[in-house]
């Protein structure tokens, strides 16, 4: 939020501010940094503690469909991380754009979609390996950070790409800096939805097939 104010004061005109605000704060800091890292920290450990203290074994012995165990874990990450990330993004956007609601809504929707997709990915990863956090960190830094920045086609397979495209698609006027480098809005929404559902199903499948300690 403070950074939004600083950028606002430092920028010499609307165009310069828009570009700096979008590239530095929304993309560089929030979407590429805070969003995946905060979600990663929570979602990778959502099953970790239960695997460690063996309470997952207790849950696995209940007559409960496996999706009813995995889905609440993903939603819990959304409920805990979502408000925190969305609130900071929305307040920063409101500060940056003089209280305009539309870009703030665009940021809120984009961040929510990002949290949900990341939560599904990292929850699955937490079931696959006990070293989910380092693997997630490598994925975020390499795939979402470096590769998706320099390889345009990767945007179709990048949660960061989906988030930026949703942001841009919902308010093209306020995020012109993203216009030339993001995928189409329908593709971004579809991609985020597919990633979320696929990794949810992978999580359910993993829970069905793994040997529960």
């Amino acid at each position: 939020m403070g950074l939004a104010v600083i950028i606002n004061l430092a920028a010499e005109g609307d165009a310069a501010f828009n570009e700096d605000f979008t590239n530095i704060l929304l993309d560089g800091l929030l979407v590429a940094g805070i969003l995946p890292i905060v979600t990663m920290a929570l979602a990778t450990s959502s099953f970790g503690n239960e695997l460690e203290d063996k309470t997952l074994g207790f849950l696995a012995l209940m007559p409960v469909a496996r999706w009813r165990i995995v889905l609440p874990k993903v939603l819990a990450s959304l409920v805990i991380c979502g408000p925190l990330l969305v609130a900071s993004g929305v307040v920063a956007t409101l500060l940056g754009f003089d209280g305009e609601v539309r870009p703030a809504v665009a940021v809120a929707v984009a961040l929510s979609a990002g949290v949900l997709a990341y939560a599904a990915i990292f929850t699955w990863l937490g079931l696959v390996t006990t070293r989910a956090l380092p693997f997630a960190l490598v994925y975020v830094l390499l795939w979402e950070g470096v590769i998706s920045t320099f390889m345009s086609g990767v945007d179709y397979l990048s949660v960061r790409g989906y988030s930026l495209a949703i942001m841009s698609g919902l308010d093209e006027a306020r995020f012109p800096a993203l216009e030339d480098r993001v995928i189409e809005l329908p593709a971004a929404i579809g991609g985020a939805a597919i990633v979320t559902v696929v990794f949810l199903l992978l999580g359910v499948r993993r829970l069905q097939r793994m040997d529960v300690p």
Binding site: T55, G57, F58, L59, M62, P63, Q208
Partner: protein, 313 residues
């Protein structure tokens, strides 16, 4: 009871040619057995593969080879089957922030029971923890936690009970209560499979035993017959006393003692083919003769050595 209840004495658990390996380690090797209503003890030393077998029976682990059925159904990926199975795992998987009653209520809800008050009261009553039910699980002794976990395993009135080392941490009084509870449940036609690495625990509880050693089923059947065979094997105990020659003389004249030798430092090595008799004779003789026992320790340190003859036969 559910519709899936099988006729009395038909096998409720069927393990057929089951193996389980983790990489190059074979935990269970081509094991087959059936479990019928009543109490069956799964006996073997630590690391024999008991828990692995129980994990496959309860569907927590897949078999690398072979087939497991419970009440005629494969337990793997079959959550609905848990309506008829009560499981108490070896690990103390409890939520310490719950009170004992809340934990049992939580289990009842997961089983879809409605209303839950009566079955929760009944389950807690069965384990005799009414007075402590409103205390946090984190404040319980290990034995109390075991009993409340047993209540959770019983809350949905399952037809099949699988209990992995249920008597860990319990005191003699609790063991007697557990014995009575299990006997009552067995008399109602339930199938109860109890694992233990302690011979005496299973001896007093189960009429049928499955004996596992090194991932293999070493013996199965009537407990007394297997016990008699076990007693045929020589069992060595080292006895250190303040009067080794006096103790040796007393032991030599005792039934069930095959030989007694005195070592260079005065320690006795006693060979017996009757473990139970040996365990009782040594302290009795010491008391009668006024001998001070400094140390009594089995030289065949684990059950594995006792069972080795069964495997090698």
């Amino acid at each position: 009871m559910s519709e899936s209840q099988v006729p009395i004495q038909a096998p409720t658990i069927n393990v057929q040619g089951v193996s389980k390996w983790f990489g190059s380690v074979v935990a269970v090797n081509d094991v087959s057995f059936q479990v019928r209503p009543g109490i069956t003890g799964l006996l073997g030393p630590n690391g024999a593969g008991k828990s692995t077998i129980l994990h496959m029976i309860t569907g927590k682990a897949s078999a690398s080879e072979g087939e497991v059925t419970v009440l005629g159904q494969a337990p793997r990926n079959n959550p609905e089957l848990y309506r008829d199975i009560g499981v108490m795992s070896e690990h103390e998987a409890v939520y310490g922030f719950y009170t004992g009653r809340e934990f049992v209520e939580f289990t009842a809800r997961l089983h879809g029971l409605d209303p839950i008050a009566a079955p929760v009261d009944r389950a807690i009553g069965l384990v005799g923890l009414e007075d402590a039910q409103h205390r946090k699980l984190g404040t319980y002794s290990r034995g109390m936690r075991q009993r409340m976990r047993l209540a959770a395993a019983l809350v949905h009135d399952p037809q099949v009970l699988v209990l992995d080392e249920p008597l860990n941490g319990t005191d003699p009084r609790q063991r007697l209560d557990f014995h009575d509870t299990m006997t009552n449940l067995a008399e109602q036609g339930r199938t109860i499979l109890i694992s233990s690495h302690i011979l005496e625990e299973v001896e007093t509880l189960a009429s049928t035993i499955l004996l596992m050693v090194s991932g293999k089923l070493a013996a199965a059947g009537d407990f007394r017959a297997i016990r008699e065979k076990l007693d045929e094997q020589a069992y060595r105990v080292r006895v250190v006393t303040d009067s080794p020659r006096k103790m040796a003389a007393a032991l030599v004249g005792t039934d069930g003692i095959d030989s007694v030798s005195i070592g260079e430092e005065g320690e006795l090595t006693v060979l017996s083919r009757n473990v139970t008799s040996l365990q009782r004779s040594i302290p009795r003789l010491a008391q009668e003769q006024g001998i001070r026992l400094k140390r009594v320790e089995p030289l065949d340190d684990s059950l594995e050595s006792i069972f080795s003859y069964v495997v090698d036969r």
